[in-house]
């Protein structure tokens, strides 16, 4: 009998957990949709920037900008790690942190000075536990990072890079490819590798633009803008990927809870039936003994 009561208790617990995971799945789904919409809207800006860059490329001018220059010797490097503020999202945080740790070790071996900046409580906790010194931490970039906030970071990095205080900026985040494919990457944002992201509009055979004030000055202004847009995209990608990861994790958890509830129910029914059978056997046995 005690066994049966225990089973009922566990069954209730599993059902309650299922309710929670199911709700979290639904919340993550709606947040994912919002984050996705934002990312799509932001893509328009990036697309236009690369269009102008491609147009500038046709204007026959030399692409030179301090943000594009690769340093001969890298002495001081910045790693920005984008993790989530909350857990329960499968391997999302773990895979970023694993990559980051490997990167940090690589830098230590080459004895390059590292300035580590982490966004998200999960990453901060993990790296503190690993006793990796963190130079700056942010917990304010939640599901909806605002451009103004990211811009502040971007401007600081760009200034530091141009002033020679840093030689390289890497960002560890989860890249969003499609809604069924995201993976953790470490990307070098500074120096900027390729402008325009490889988008070349070949169809039009060169529009003759009038540049105000001049093509060179437009370039000088658009390179930082492209960099900031790219950094912002990293944040957006990370937030979309986080919601997807949480959605998938919670869906798995709900399914597991369903399965568990099913098997517990079965066990309970068996125990109940066994109880009835043995009770019946006792009555019949008793009656037979009396008779």
């Amino acid at each position: 009998m005690a066994n049966r009561r225990l089973l009922v208790k566990r069954l209730k617990a599993v059902r309650n957990i299922r309710k929670i995971t199911r709700t979290m799945e639904l919340i993550a789904t709606s947040r994912f949709k919002k984050a996705m919409d934002r990312a799509t809207e932001a893509a328009e800006y990036t697309r236009k920037i690369s269009e102008i860059v491609a147009d500038l490329g046709r204007a026959n001018l030399k692409f030179s900008h301090p943000l594009l220059e690769r340093r001969a010797e890298e002495k001081r490097s910045v790693l920005l790690v984008l993790t989530a503020n909350r857990g329960l999202c499968g391997g999302y945080n773990a895979s970023i942190l694993r990559q980051s740790l490997a990167h940090i070790r690589g830098l230590n071996e080459k004895s390059i000075e590292l300035q580590l900046e982490v966004s998200g409580k999960r990453g901060i906790k993990f790296l503190n536990y690993q006793k990796v010194p963190i130079h700056a931490q942010y917990t304010t970039f939640d599901d909806q990072p605002s451009f103004a906030a990211v811009d502040e970071l971007g401007t600081r990095y760009a200034e530091d890079f141009m002033a020679g205080r840093i030689d390289r900026l890497d960002v560890a985040y989860t890249k969003f490819v499609t809604s069924s494919k995201q993976f953790a990457v470490i990307e070098t944002l500074l120096p900027i590798a390729g402008l325009g992201g490889g988008i070349e509009t070949k169809s039009e055979a060169g529009v003759d633009y009038e540049f105000l004030p001049s093509a060179q000055e437009i370039l000088a202004e658009i390179v930082p803008a492209a960099f900031r847009a790219k950094l912002f995209k990293c944040f957006l990608d990370a937030s979309v990927s986080e919601q997807i990861a949480r959605m998938v994790a919670m869906k798995g958890a709900t399914e597991n809870a369903d399965e568990m509830a099913g098997s517990l129910k079965q066990q309970y029914n068996r125990a109940r039936q066994a109880g009835i059978t043995s009770e019946l056997a006792e009555i019949i046995g008793g009656a037979a003994a009396l008779g």
């Binding site: 809207e41 811009d151 803008a225 912002f232």
Partner: protein, 132 residues
């Protein structure tokens, strides 16, 4: 008559994407106006008011914060860091921002550039503010 449409995008979202009759944007050194049939152009924007006249004749005004303008064919694309309807700027908050910018003390050249930019932004914003 040739057509003209305006696409106003910020890194966060597309604010405006419609046909218009004419547009006026703040370039880095003054205003520039576009009518249908403008020759292709890429220009650097300043801080200030973007004014557009809809096909129906109503005038709308946005505050924009730097960026670029590209005219290509019948499309004018305005890429800016931040944009908002002038009617949504409140005089109070713009005034507060101006006070804040004025109170700043710049110690280095870079800081000076940044703070004078903030000051200019706050001034232009206040000039456009129509609400209390």
């Amino acid at each position: 008559m040739a057509e003209l449409s305006l696409v106003l995008v910020t890194p966060e979202r597309t604010l405006f994407d419609r046909q218009v009759a004419s547009i006026r944007v703040p370039l880095f050194d003054g205003s520039a106006g576009f009518y249908p049939g403008r020759a292709p152009l890429v220009g650097r924007l300043g801080i200030g008011e973007l004014r557009l006249t809809e096909v129906s004749g109503t005038v709308e005004s946005y505050f924009i914060d730097g960026g670029f303008v590209q005219v290509k064919g019948t499309v004018v694309s305005v890429l800016t860091n931040a944009a908002m309807l002038s009617s949504e700027i409140s005089r109070k908050s713009a005034g507060a921002k101006l006070q804040e910018a004025k109170a700043e003390l710049a110690k280095t050249d870079i800081e000076y550039v940044a703070s004078s930019r903030r000051l200019e932004k706050a001034r232009k914003m206040l000039a456009l503010a129509s609400k209390d």
